[in-house]
């Protein structure tokens, strides 16, 4: 499985995930920021409105106060210059410090409070608005430093004074006495009264309130740091006041301290109330809120990111698993596809659902010719009995695996042998849904098995033939030769003169012994190769005879019981049984260390049964080929001999319990 595509898919997923996360984060941040910006703007706007409200409020208060002053002054002025009247007027106006009547030369002629004020000159031109003639309006002079006119002096723009210096504001009104006469009254207004009033409205730390003249000169301020008389910082308002009686704006102050400014000019009098609110303080609530919001949003974002991360990891894992499963399935699919064995999947009725190329090769059908068709009608050869097919179906419908060899028919009608395993597949409820049939074409194997069997049988026949010939040769020629030699030797010995005969006697006897030993060994060899008596007299006689010689040779007692067996059996069968008995006895002598062997041959109903049982050491019969006795090959040969004859060979042996060989062959079954 190449890692490339999977890594690529994983990378793509990761990129998508991080892209989405980035979009979500930036979106959230942007939305939050936008909201905060909007909230901030709203907060500023609200605070500006508040400043404006203060400004209006203060302007109302100021205008009212000045209305009262105007009335008072007008009233006092109408009454004429009586000191008592002035004092009365002052009592009812807490913001008035004093009232003074100016003479035509501008000098004070009546003073309400300090008599020393009398004679102090007040310059009417320093009052605003400047007028060319007398008018019945309130005009404002510059703020004064000092308790009264007598000891004070007016400040100017060039010389502003610190606010803490006790001072007052001079307000002048010309009063129309009669047709020709005008009097000018100057009121000293106590700035503390207004400062107190303003300070109650706007806390000093939240901002400040200024009272300006129309020309921008500062008359009083709640901020002690601002000097009455100065015009600094009010240029903008002065510039706008002609067009707009009131306004509000944000002003970037010194040291980065921005202030929210609202101003309002008095409706009737030349005053401007300016409210300045500290922007930072005004935004404090918003800032708190913003911080909280940011914290909450951050937390929420963090939580969302964590969840997304977890989700991503899970997604990734699932994807990997999915990919692995997919790859596995693909691998298996490929494996099934390329398997040399034919594989077919059918439904419960035997209709083909899937088949691999090997099946198509085997059956000769193309895949689409098989799909949906019943395997029976495709392949059934009819070469087996109905019970065979019934048994197969019984087995698999019972949910068991059926395994066996079966002859089927190809598309072209030719027959083939296959080794087939049918496995039922159950669904979750346990019902059989499908069958998987795995088939292997064993036609060739069958053919080569048949050929092998044929060859083996041929080999056995050849071997028997050559054994017979060799045995016959030894018997018919070698043995008589030896016998003739022996007789001749006897004749020669008899012909020897007596004195020589005694010398050679021992030598002759040794020679006779040699001949005798050789003859005996030839007899044994012949008996092993192919006993003549087997061909002459049949299996029981040959077994008797062989057992007799075997006993003599080995000392092992052999009991032969051939009762109930015909003297003659088919020759091939006689050979097989004799060879098995011979091999069995040879094993007894060579490996089993047996003392007794029972050999029985029975015949019943066309079946011949040979049993060879010894009392030897036995061996672990599960692995006869590897047993210490090394008798494996003999057993294999015995088994093959019997099975080639269509018989059954069974060997039973346990260490210490001897060995039992059981062979049965049906006479009719012997293959020629």
């Amino acid at each position: 499985m190449p890692a490339g595509p999977r890594a690529e898919a994983s990378r793509r997923r990761r990129a998508t995930f991080f892209g989405v996360v980035a979009v979500v984060i930036s979106g959230t941040i942007a939305a939050t920021a936008y909201t905060q910006w909007r909230l901030r703007a709203e907060a500023i706007s609200r605070q500006l409105d508040a400043a404006m409200m203060y400004a209006r409020n203060f302007e109302d208060h100021l205008t009212l106060s000045l209305d009262v002053l105007d009335i008072t002054v007008r009233h006092v002025g109408a009454e004429g210059g009586e000191f008592e009247h002035y004092a009365d007027a002052l009592r009812s106006a807490p913001y008035l410090r004093s009232l003074s009547l100016l003479g035509a030369d501008g000098k004070t002629i009546v003073a309400s409070s300090n008599p020393r004020n009398v004679g102090v000159r007040v310059e009417p031109r320093s009052f605003q608005p400047a007028t060319s003639g007398p008018l019945e309006i309130l005009r404002v002079g510059p703020p004064w430093i000092g308790r009264d006119f007598h000891e004070g002096r007016p400040v100017s723009t060039a010389r502003p004074e610190p606010a803490e210096t006790t001072g007052f504001i001079a307000i002048l009104r010309q009063v129309h006495h009669d047709e020709q006469r005008w009097a000018a009254l100057v009121a000293a207004v106590n700035p503390g009264y207004f400062i107190n009033h303003y300070s109650r409205g706007v806390m000093p730390e939240a901002g400040m309130v200024d009272l300006l003249r129309y020309d921008g000169m500062l008359l009083l301020s709640t901020d002690e740091g601002r000097h009455p008389g100065s015009q600094a910082g009010n240029e903008r308002i002065v510039g706008q006041i002609d067009r707009q009686e009131s306004g509000q704006y944000v002003e970037e102050g010194d040291e980065g301290r921005a202030v929210l400014v609202a101003y309002r000019a008095s409706r009737y009098y030349p005053f401007i109330v300016v409210v300045r609110l500290d922007k930072a303080r005004a935004l404090a609530a918003w800032r708190e809120e913003a911080k909280r919001t940011a914290a909450i949003v951050s937390l929420a974002l963090l939580a969302a990111l964590s969840l997304a991360g977890l989700y991503y990891r899970r997604l990734e894992r699932t994807a990997r698993e999915h990919e692995a499963v997919e790859a596995e399935l693909k691998l298996r699919g490929t494996a099934l596809g390329v398997a040399a064995n034919a594989i077919v999947i059918t439904d419960r009725d035997g209709s083909v659902k899937w088949a691999n190329p090997a099946f198509c090769d085997l059956s000769g059908y193309a895949l689409d010719e098989t799909l949906g068709r019943n395997l029976r009608e495709l392949l059934k050869s009819g070469r087996h009995a109905a019970e065979f097919y019934a048994d197969m179906w019984d087995t698999i419908l019972a949910g068991k695996v059926w395994q066996g060899e079966i002859i089927n028919r190809r598309k072209d009608g030719s027959l083939f042998h296959e080794d087939q395993t049918i496995t039922p597949v159950r669904d979750a409820s346990g019902a059989i849904r499908e069958f998987i049939a795995v088939k292997q074409d064993i036609t060739q194997r069958k053919a080569s098995e048949a050929r092998m069997e044929e060859l083996s049988r041929h080999l056995v026949t050849l071997q028997e033939g050559s054994r017979r010939r060799l045995s016959g040769e030894l018997h018919d020629r070698t043995s008589p030769n030896l016998a003739a030699i022996r007789i001749n030797l006897d004749i020669l010995a008899a012909a020897l003169p007596a004195h020589q005969a005694s010398d050679l006697h021992a030598r002759l006897e040794d020679t006779r012994a040699l001949i005798e030993d050789t003859a005996a060994s030839i007899r044994e060899i012949c008996s092993d190769l192919r006993p003549a008596v087997l061909d002459y007299a049949g299996l029981p006689a040959a077994l008797d005879s062989y057992a007799h010689q075997f006993s003599r040779r080995t000392g092992i007692v052999v009991r032969v019981d051939c009762h109930g067996c015909a003297a003659r059996l088919p020759p091939d069968l006689e050979t097989v049984f004799f060879r098995v008995a011979q091999e069995g006895l040879t094993n007894c002598a060579k490996h089993a260390r047996a003392e007794r062997v029972n050999l029985s041959l029975r015949q019943s109903g066309g079946k011949v049964v040979l049993n060879v049982t010894d009392d030897g050491v036995g061996f672990a019969s599960a692995r006869p080929g590897t047993s210490a006795q090394g008798s494996g090959l003999g057993i294999v040969i015995m088994r093959e001999l019997v099975e080639f004859s269509g018989g059954r060979f069974a060997l039973e042996s346990r260490p210490g319990n001897g060995t039992h060989i059981h062979v049965e062959i049906e006479i009719g079954k012997v293959q020629k």
Binding site: H475, D476, R477, S479, P480, N481, L482, A483, A484, I485, R486, I487, N488, D490, I491, A494, A506, E509, D510, R512, A513, L514, E516, D517, A519, A520, R523, P531, A532, V533, Y536, A537, A541, A542, D544, S545, H548, R552, R553, T554, G555
Partner: protein, 214 residues
């Protein structure tokens, strides 16, 4: 009066050896010889032998069938079976066919002379191997007393040495023969006595007085 003998064996060298042997005996006269079963019938008619030495396996007509025919026609003719085999079935079949004696070819020399001597006196004779193979039949299931086998002087000598515990090499040295020859003697002794190890040989030697009881 000389016994007239007909030799029937398809192995010529063996036949000639037998003829030489038999002609040494003044009591015997070989009147004819052949290697074919059918010839035997003809020669019997022509030469009227007293004794026919009949090979069991012959071309033409085999020894058993020939014997049957000979005995059917000339019941007085005594048939001695000669065979390379001593399987029980051959022995019994020959005897049933009418043979009076059975001798294996391996032991043909002395045994054949004994057989002729026996049948001349109308007694049957079986050589030791043949007797051994039919013992079971003769006595039920082989409980008959075994005929004491005849060991040669040399074999008795070898057995004596074996029983006293000498090895084959030592015996060979004692007897001035090859060790392999001693082995041959040993094998022959064991086969004849139907014994299969030194302990059994020693026991036999003591019982038969070949060596003294220690």
């Amino acid at each position: 009066m000389k016994q007239r003998v007909l030799l029937a064996d398809d192995h010529q060298l063996f036949r000639e050896a037998l003829r030489s042997l038999l002609e040494k005996d003044p009591e015997l006269e070989v009147v004819a010889e052949t290697g074919d079963g059918i010839d035997v019938i003809r020669l019997t008619r022509e030469t009227s032998p007293d004794i026919v030495c009949m090979d069991v396996n012959m071309p033409g007509l085999n020894g058993i069938e020939t014997t049957r025919q000979v005995k059917a026609t000339w019941p007085g003719v005594k048939v001695i079976a000669l065979s390379a085999y001593c399987d029980q079935r051959y022995v019994l079949d020959m005897i049933n066919a009418g043979a009076l004696a059975y001798v294996t070819k391996a032991a043909a020399g002395v045994e054949l002379l004994r057989a002729i001597e026996s049948v001349s006196g109308n007694r049957s004779y079986l050589c030791p191997d043949a007797l051994d193979s039919v013992r079971g039949v003769l006595s039920g299931q082989g409980e008959a007393e075994k005929q004491s086998p005849q060991l040669s002087a040399r074999e008795r000598e070898v057995l004596r040495h074996v029983a006293t515990g000498l090895t084959s090499a030592q015996i060979a040295e004692q007897l001035h023969i090859a060790a392999s020859t001693v082995e041959v003697h040993r094998r022959n002794i064991m086969r004849k006595l139907d014994l299969h190890n030194v302990a059994e040989l020693t026991r036999y030697a003591i019982r038969c007085g070949i060596v003294a009881n220690p």
